[in-house]
């Protein structure tokens, strides 16, 4: 057992904290929340230069060859700073899916540019009904002599209006198959409609009409899409949970500072026992969730069986969903009216934490995954 950071991780933590506090302050977060694309090319290039987009890409393909435990350290800081941009989508979910299921040429072509930030690759994991079951996808593909022809709608694709490639599961005669669709340059009709979401991050409904992609666009085996989707969900859930706990930890710290300063009835409200117990609850919840999300990231890195890793991830996401929800609302209750204003930063956290609950499997789906394995 080791609950500490190694030297590399400590370096990631301190540099991320420092860089993001400088480069992603509240003003930037607010501007990006109403920005059409949700982040800037400058910012993304810098993140790439810092090596963060290639953290878990192999050295052979231009990355650092680190693992999810290392990435978790970055993700916690990323969440704490509410930094914008498709870090989880491109540099974690897509990079790991391509790394694991991609052909040699796919890896050579895509991974190095993911790592630099030149290319953004995002997964499409939401079905027509808003659920994330691979059986619920809205896109169908048929094999023709020209390649595969895709039609249908993918819903709520994160950063779909910036993505160069969307990793898109589709129904085929062979079963669910994942295609890397170059939405900006596809042959055929692609409509990308941005939906205004509570988190401020872009989510897009992408309509494909007779879009043709070559056989080389298939990620993994034709008909083997459920495995690819499964891995994307796993890495996505672990990463998002870690980011959520980072955000919850920052909310807790800020709330503790607030109750020390804010005075009512002649003393700081942090001197009232009920507020003290709220703070103790929040701190205990952060601690509890940190262990489970770190263990999930570790489980995706260490040599343990996949059923155990999957259980660790589902426990982590359910825990992050449940406890961080409690934390943001206790934070609001402790802030009082000021936390109800647009001007105060608290709601920036609230919107994201609540939104992230639905990503990569909601609480219900994860607890049922766990329940079925008992």
């Amino acid at each position: 057992m080791d609950f500490g950071l190694n030297e590399t991780q400590e370096l990631i933590r301190s540099s991320a904290a420092e860089y993001l506090s400088d480069r992603s302050p509240s003003d930037f977060v607010r501007a990006m929340a109403t920005d059409e694309r949700g982040y800037t090319d400058d910012f993304w290039r810098e993140i790439g230069e810092l090596g963060w987009l290639g953290l878990i890409v192999s050295e052979e393909h231009g990355g650092s060859g680190m693992d999810m435990s290392d990435m978790a350290v970055l993700l916690a800081e990323w969440g704490a700073a509410l930094a914008p941009g498709p870090l989880v989508e491109s540099a974690v979910v897509s990079a790991s899916a391509i790394g694991n299921f991609g052909s040699d040429s796919q890896k050579r072509e895509w991974l190095p540019t993911i790592a630099t930030g030149e290319m953004v690759v995002v997964p499409s994991l939401v079905g027509m009904d808003g659920s994330t079951d691979p059986g619920a996808m809205g896109v169908r593909a048929s094999e023709t002599s020209n390649g595969w022809v895709l039609s249908g709608t993918s819903r709520f694709v994160p950063y779909g209006n910036s993505a160069d490639l969307v990793l898109m599961p589709a129904e085929t005669d062979a079963g669910v198959t994942v295609f890397a669709v170059p939405v900006k340059s596809a042959e055929g009709t692609v409509n990308v409609n941005r939906v205004k979401m509570a988190s401020g991050a872009p989510a897009c409904d992408i309509e494909l009409n007779e879009v043709v992609v070559p056989a080389a666009a298939v990620l993994g085996e034709a008909g083997g899409g459920a495995d690819v989707v499964g891995q994307m969900m796993l890495y996505g859930a672990a990463a998002r949970a870690t980011q959520m706990v980072g955000a919850g930890s920052a909310v807790t710290d800020r709330t503790i500072e607030y109750v020390k300063d804010r005075r009512q009835f002649g003393r700081p409200i942090g001197a009232f026992q009920v507020i003290q117990h709220y703070m103790a609850d929040m701190a205990t919840k952060v601690k509890s969730a940190q262990h489970l999300v770190n263990r999930a990231a570790w489980a995706l890195s260490a040599d343990i069986d996949s059923a155990s890793a999957s259980r660790a991830v589902s426990q982590a996401k359910w825990t992050a969903n449940t406890l961080m929800h409690d934390i943001v609302w206790k934070a609001h209750q402790s802030h009082g009216a000021i936390g109800f204003t647009w001007e105060h930063d608290l709601h920036l956290y609230t919107r994201r934490v609540l939104s992230w609950r639905a990503d990569f499997g909601d609480s219900d789906s994860h607890i049922e995954i766990l329940g079925r394995t008992l």
Binding site: G130, G135, A198, S199, H332, Q333, G336, E343, H347, A358
Partner: protein, 392 residues
């Protein structure tokens, strides 16, 4: 013990429902947005129409043009209005200032203001909270210096609903800095068009302009606008605060949202073709929330019943603030989670779909357990006043 409305009450509710069916815009979902011009026009129109029926001042004594309606009828009015998310039920004038003037106002003040309020022709706002008061209202610092026959006000009020639309403000100001904190406060009436009044909007976390901060820079108020005795304003204000928590609003909102969520679940199919509501865990949770709504509702009814017997409620009013705001929170929390990604759409153009507005509704409800005395303050009140627990 009897758990049904009587005939008069049922008849009144039917009349009100018909009125609302007729007067609200077609397909009205609500809530109204008084910061938009259309919204403000609708508010004023509804306020006048309600006044024409005498409903705004139904609880007033007959000598002031009221109907001496029972607290239960009055509660039914608020319940149905909130359930319909209908605008126009001005409480500042009719439920707060009006009754205060009846007790503490001069004849001149009564003559000048009561009939305007009753006719729905004037908008009041309430100037109590200040940036540093929070739940500790008695720590207010906005100062009114009496110079001859006028007060000169400097300071600031915050969280002032409707200030940007109001004609007048009733407010608490400090008039004696040396007195004990509950003494030295006076209750004044201020014309919002007075020179030196500046209203700055505050946008809430749902993205709406629901509050204001109001700044006072040497604002002059004539002495005749003092209500009650000088330095007796705390007493004037507290006389009513207890009964005016509007908790039935939260119960009605919870009920309406609960129905919207149930209907959504009953009409929305999952990818396997099943309806959401075919899932027993959804039904279970809806049933639990429904029971919790009923609990909050009956405590609220009990408050009206106590008032009808002439017993001033105190503990019960705090209990229903807690129960009503907690259940409304729980209903919306459930809805946001149930709806999933579609429930996270936050787009005014998607307002007609529950999916496009439930997140905003949840964000609004953040203020429920906070405003009008946080739920923690309500528990303190229950502990001290109701259960007589020691303060130290």
């Amino acid at each position: 013990m009897w758990f049904e409305f009587n005939e008069e009450e049922i008849a009144f509710r039917e009349e009100l429902k018909e009125f609302l069916d007729q007067e609200l815009p077609d397909g009205w979902i609500g809530p109204n947005d008084e910061s938009s011009d259309e919204g403000w026009d609708l508010y004023c129109r509804m306020r006048r129409k309600l006044a024409e029926r005498g409903w705004l001042t139904m609880t007033w004594p007959k000598e002031y043009g009221g109907q001496e309606a029972s607290p239960m009828i009055s509660l039914l009015f608020a319940e149905e209005m909130s359930y319909r998310r209908a605008p126009g039920n001005d409480r500042f004038g009719t439920r707060m200032l009006g009754p205060t003037l009846m007790v503490f106002g001069t004849d001149e003040q009564k003559r000048k203001y009561l009939s305007d309020i009753a006719q729905g022709g004037i908008q009041w706002c309430q100037g109590y909270s200040e940036p540093n008061t929070g739940s500790d209202l008695a720590s207010l610092q906005t100062f009114a210096e009496l110079r001859g026959d006028e007060f000169v006000i400097n300071g600031s009020k915050i969280w002032t609903s409707m200030a940007h639309r109001a004609d007048m403000m009733f407010m608490l100001v400090r008039t004696d800095r040396d007195a004990e904190r509950h003494a030295g406060i006076s209750f004044l009436l201020l014309d919002m068009k007075s020179p030196g009044v500046q209203v700055n909007p505050i946008v809430n976390i749902a993205g709406a302009h629901s509050f204001n901060q109001v700044m006072f820079d040497d604002v002059r108020v004539p002495l005749e606008n003092l209500v009650g005795e000088l330095n007796d304003g705390w007493n004037v204000a507290m006389n009513l605060l207890n009964f005016e928590r509007g908790n039935i609003d939260y119960v009605s909102w919870a009920q309406r949202s609960w129905e919207e969520i149930r209907d959504y679940a009953a009409t929305t199919r999952r990818f396997d073709g099943s309806l959401m509501i075919d899932d027993m865990k959804v039904r279970r949770r809806l049933a639990e929330l429904e029971a919790e709504i009923e609990m909050a509702r009956y405590i609220t009814y009990e408050v009206a019943w106590l008032q009808s017997l002439g017993h001033p409620p105190s503990t019960e009013a705090s209990m229903c603030k807690i129960a009503a705001t907690e259940v409304n929170t729980a209903v919306l929390d459930f809805g946001v989670e149930l709806l999933g990604l579609p429930g996270l759409i936050d787009d005014p153009d998607e307002h007609e779909d529950l999916a496009g507005r439930i997140f905003k509704m949840r964000m609004y409800q953040t203020s429920g357990p906070i405003l009008a005395g946080t739920n923690e303050i309500q528990k303190n009140i229950i502990a001290y006043r109701g259960l007589e627990l020691p303060r130290r």
